[in-house]
């Protein structure tokens, strides 16, 4: 009986009738108000259930979105903190995390960018000869650096000035070119004179 009523309502909707019209015709046919309301409620409920079921199948759940979002943030942070990339100039440098002072390596990345615009020739040398910067306090001590051989340098200037960090980078790149301390101190001094405008 109730099944027949629901079927009638569904068919009426399919033919384009509105809810008040269907309601009126059912009341005229002898159905009570409670029976009609109950039938409408059941139809609405089953429709909602149907939509919800299919929505879940089509759209990924909130959980998937959250995980995806967290993965994006995680990799962005990794990239921002530990890599310097300049595709145009073919420059790819890994910056190892400084466990002692500054995990973000903000100072070193900012200094590399200053070198790029402030002294393009030194920047070209740096990109060509260095592919790894160790930001931990090492053989250069606090506020210093050292050349480790190959394409690796150590720069421990997390709390230092950017101009000094640029000077250390240029000094260690100079060692990577094969020059000794005297020439490389002079290179550091030259870059300070170039980028610090008084």
């Amino acid at each position: 009986m109730a099944e027949g009523l629901r079927k009638y309502i569904k068919n009426s909707f399919a033919t384009g009738l509105k809810k008040p019209q269907i309601e009126a015709s059912l009341l005229q046919s002898g159905w009570t108000k409670e029976q009609i309301d109950d039938a409408f409620e059941r139809i609405e409920f089953s429709q909602k259930e149907f939509i919800e079921k299919h929505r879940r199948r089509i759209l990924p759940s909130k959980k998937v979105f959250t995980i995806f979002f967290l993965i994006i943030i995680f990799f962005s942070l990794i990239y921002k903190s530990f890599f310097y990339v300049d595709i145009k100039n073919d420059c790819f440098v890994k910056i190892l995390p400084s466990l002692a002072m500054e995990l973000s390596n903000f100072n070193i990345k900012r200094s590399i960018k200053i070198l790029k615009y402030g002294s393009p020739s030194d920047y070209q040398d740096f990109c060509r000869l260095v592919d790894t910067i160790d930001a931990n306090v090492d053989c250069g001590g606090w506020e210093g650096g050292c050349y480790r051989g190959g394409k690796t340098i150590a720069v421990s200037t997390a709390q230092g000035t950017v101009s000094w960090t640029v000077a250390i980078i240029v000094h260690e790149t100079c060692h990577a070119k094969g020059f000794g301390e005297t020439e490389c101190y002079a290179a550091g001094d030259r870059i300070l004179g170039t980028i610090v405008e008084i």
């Binding site: 903000f106 000035t161 008084i198």
Partner: protein, 171 residues
């Protein structure tokens, strides 16, 4: 008929009223959020919401004074709006730090250490010599220094071959 029209008008007015109320609540929420945001940002830097001018201030906690940097910027804004615009466009960070224009191990002398300030080429950074004093003389001095080095930054970025004034040097 007349009653129906009045009834409909009443309904429309009620709807508009409720919508206006929700708009007002949203607007108030945005204003409050922006006020809190501005206050928070101004705690560590200079932010002028009217001109959207943001300048980070890295101050020397022991030997410096962030307040005089902010006061110097405000003074510059009042005295010379053109220089203020230059500052907002070409400077993104003011650092309270001694300038180091040489390596004393090479040249045997410190260049720039006791200068009132300097501009770091290739960046939008200005250094100011740290001082704890907060009298009007210091504010005036800082205002002049900031204006001078903002113009240095402007000259640098405008005279580059691949001129990109909006370049982002923040990370």
């Amino acid at each position: 008929m007349k009653f129906d029209i009045l009834q409909k008008l009443k309904e429309i007015l009620t709807k508009i009223k409720s919508k206006l109320r929700s708009y007002f609540v949203s607007f108030a929420a945005i204003v409050i959020f922006f006020a809190i945001f501005s206050f928070g940002v101004n705690f560590f830097s200079y932010f002028d919401p009217l001109t959207f001018c943001y300048i980070g201030i890295e101050n020397d906690f022991l030997g410096g004074n962030q307040k005089t940097v902010k006061k110097a910027i405000v003074q510059l804004k009042r005295a010379d709006i053109q220089s203020y615009k230059t500052l907002c466009t070409y400077v993104d960070t003011i650092v309270e730090e001694h300038c180091r224009a040489s390596d004393p191990r090479v040249s045997g002398k410190e260049i720039g250490t006791y200068e009132p300030g300097c501009y770091i080429r290739g960046s939008k950074i200005i250094n100011l010599i740290p001082t704890k004093e907060d009298d009007q003389f210091v504010i005036n001095q800082r205002s002049i220094t900031i204006r001078k080095y903002a113009n240095f930054s402007k000259n640098f970025w405008e005279n580059r071959q691949d001129h990109t004034p909006g370049i982002n040097l923040r990370f």
